[in-house]
Amino acid sequence: MLEFLVEALRAAIPAGTPLLFGTLGEIYAERSGILNLGVEGMMIMGAVTGFSVALTTGNPWLGVLAAAIVGGLLSLIHAFVSITLRGNQVVSGLALTMFGVGLSGLLGRRFIGTPLPAQAKLVGIRIPVLSDLPILGPLFFQFDPLVYISILLVPIMWFILYKTKLGISIRSVGEDPATADAMGVNVFGIRYLCTFIGGVLAGVGGAYLSIVYTPSWIEGMTAGAGWIVIALTIFALWSPLRAILGAYLFGGVKVLQYRLQPLGISPNLLNTLPFILTILVLMAATREVMRRRIGAPSALGLPYSREEK
């Protein structure tokens, strides 16, 4: 039983890592007041870019870097439309997802069916001594570097958001941009920055899928992960600390899907699990938001301009 649990947890963490990257990024974007529904599009573009660069250069880190840049650039499209042009954020984000999914198909057609060679993969690092510990070893000390980076990002991003001046600026811009503006905070700059961070992390999350988790390019391989990220952001109550919980929960469900399949349950019906769970989780999170009266940044989704109050 213990062995089973360890094995399940071990599998859940990598499965949840793309979601963790994406959610951390979206938390920053939404904290600054920008709802970016383009996560799915940025993630899948990160996946195709990361894979193609890792394949051609043989260096997985260059792949991750390229994915981060592409994710960031795509997010700037959304930033321009929603911040500068004050367009509808729901529709703009949705459009970005469509655009990213379409473009990834076009860019990735050459790579379908090509596996990533061994040297271009990111493999688990074995931390000496610690990785040989029973139970704890496989559970904590044998993952690939990106898993550790994503885990490290959680306290760092929490600290920045709650304990630094930049964090106060981000939160104030998301809650009350007019007041923040009057206090001398650069509303547009902060919003651009946070949207960009969201794009970068979504890109990295996508690269994790195509370089580490399933080292290959499969059309539409994000399969809704970007949308689960949007839900996880609400589930996390816009806090990086709770993001990790949600990400690994969904990672666990993905593992459960594989585990239940041999029992003769239709894989198609099992595939609905994460999406049904998303709805349930969202219901629970929304209840909590209402009960504790904490919740979405007040200015989330609203464009800001100086002339109108």
């Binding site: 529904l37 599009g41 499209i77 321009f80 439309v81 042009l85 004050r86 367009g87 509808n88 729901v90 529709v91 703009s92 949705l94 459009a95 970005l96 997802t97 469509m98 655009f99 990213g100 999914v101 379409g102 473009l103 990834s104 198909g105 076009l106 990735g108 057609r109 059309e219 539409g220 809704g224 949308w227 949007i230 839900a231 609400i234 239709s266 198609n268 019906l269 595939n271 609905t272 999406f275 049904i276 998303t278 709805i279 969202l282 219901m283 929304t286 209840r287 209402m290 002339e307 109108e308």
Partner: protein, 359 residues
């Protein structure tokens, strides 16, 4: 000289049309640039799209065929978006409609007389799409659960249910192992204009619905309440317009119409239930743009759905001749929508150019 933006309340009609047209042109131009960068000849690509869609009688009829589901879904979405209810899940509602129609055609335990078959299928499709849409409406109105995510998640769920059925219990015995159901009986097939695939009863239904939807929105109390809820939710609350009623109403209509579109696809085009992408190449998503380009006016949706029907047909032609992957057309959709949203600043603001130095 000084350029600034001034807020305006209502843009005149010519500005609205001009804005949409310019946005559309800019989107096509930017895609042309993208094609060029990827080493594809943009002129050739657009020629292919245009000739494939509007360049022949066959292309025109196919464009009309694809306009039918876009019209039905687009009219519904226009109503939902008018109330600022973000139904992103028309694709799933369409699939549920297709599923319900298949159940009536193949598995209904009651022997239906043949004259009743199609009407019952349409009603079942409407109800199934509506039920699929009412779940997010209830969750939103009762628990304030974000409808963008719930409607979209239900697309994935509907897709997997249809997959499960066509690969599993509903897989046809006479379909050589394809993920199709058996063919519908003749009484469950919607008639077409001979020589084409235009299943005209569904088309007529769509046109009637568009006109009715326009009158609902512009001439009735319910329509007024939908518009107030969308324009200013707080004012709607003070005016005593219950959000629950509006959410249920717009989702009943938009989900139901998407369901009807699904009936049209399985009973008018394929004559059987197929795997989800075989039923709809994303009509429910493309309909979002159709509605948006029409600036949520159901009558204009008639025009924009035909335009995008053409784009889909042309896109298919392009895909085949240039060997592009299926999702490429999504790129067009995304770019067009981005430009439309971005261009809307011209509807809400007036560009004022003042000569001379700043006052």
């Amino acid at each position: 000289m000084q350029i600034r933006l001034e807020r305006r309340l209502l843009a005149p009609g010519w500005v609205r049309i001009l804005t949409s047209a310019i946005s559309l042109l800019l989107a096509l131009l930017s895609i042309a640039v993208a094609f060029y960068i990827f080493g594809l000849d943009p002129l050739f690509a657009y020629k292919k799209i245009f000739i494939g869609s509007f360049g022949s009688l066959y292309g025109l009829s196919e464009s009309l065929v694809k306009a039918i589901p876009l019209l039905l879904c687009g009219v519904g979405l226009a109503i939902a978006f008018k109330a600022q209810f973000w139904n992103i899940g028309a694709e799933g509602q369409l699939l549920m409609g297709a599923l319900a129609a298949t159940w009536v055609a193949l598995f209904c335990p009651i022997e239906l007389p043949s004259w009743a078959m199609l009407p019952v299928m349409f009603i079942a499709g409407f109800l199934a799409g509506a039920i699929w849409a009412l779940i997010p409406a209830l969750l939103r109105a009762k628990l304030r659960v974000n409808e963008v995510i719930t409607t979209l998640m239900l697309v994935y769920v509907a897709t997997e249910i249809v997959n499960y059925l066509v690969y599993g219990p509903w897989k046809g015995a006479r379909e050589w192992g394809f993920p199709y159901s058996d063919r519908f009986p003749d009484s469950a097939i919607i008639p077409v204009i001979s020589g084409t695939r235009i299943h005209y009863p569904t088309l007529i239904l769509g046109l009637v619905v568009a006109v009715l939807a326009y009158f609902l929105l512009m001439r009735t109390k319910w329509g007024y309440e939908i518009r107030v809820t969308g324009d200013n939710p707080r004012a709607a609350e003070y005016a005593g317009i219950p959000y629950l009623r509006i959410a249920l109403l717009v989702m009943l209509i938009s989900g139901g119409l998407a369901g009807v579109a699904g009936v049209g696809e399985v009973a008018g085009i394929h004559g059987r239930l197929r795997y989800p992408q075989g039923i709809s190449p994303g009509y429910g998503f493309t309909a979002i743009i159709v509605a948006w380009l029409a600036q949520l006016n159901p009558l204009v949706v008639i025009l924009t759905s035909f335009l995008f029907g053409g784009l889909l047909v042309g896109g298919d032609a392009l895909q085949v001749s240039m060997n592009l992957p299926v999702p490429t057309i999504q790129m067009f959709n995304g770019a067009i929508l981005l430009f439309l949203v971005g261009g809307e600043i011209l509807l809400r603001y007036r560009i004022v150019i003042r000569k001379g130095s700043q006052t």
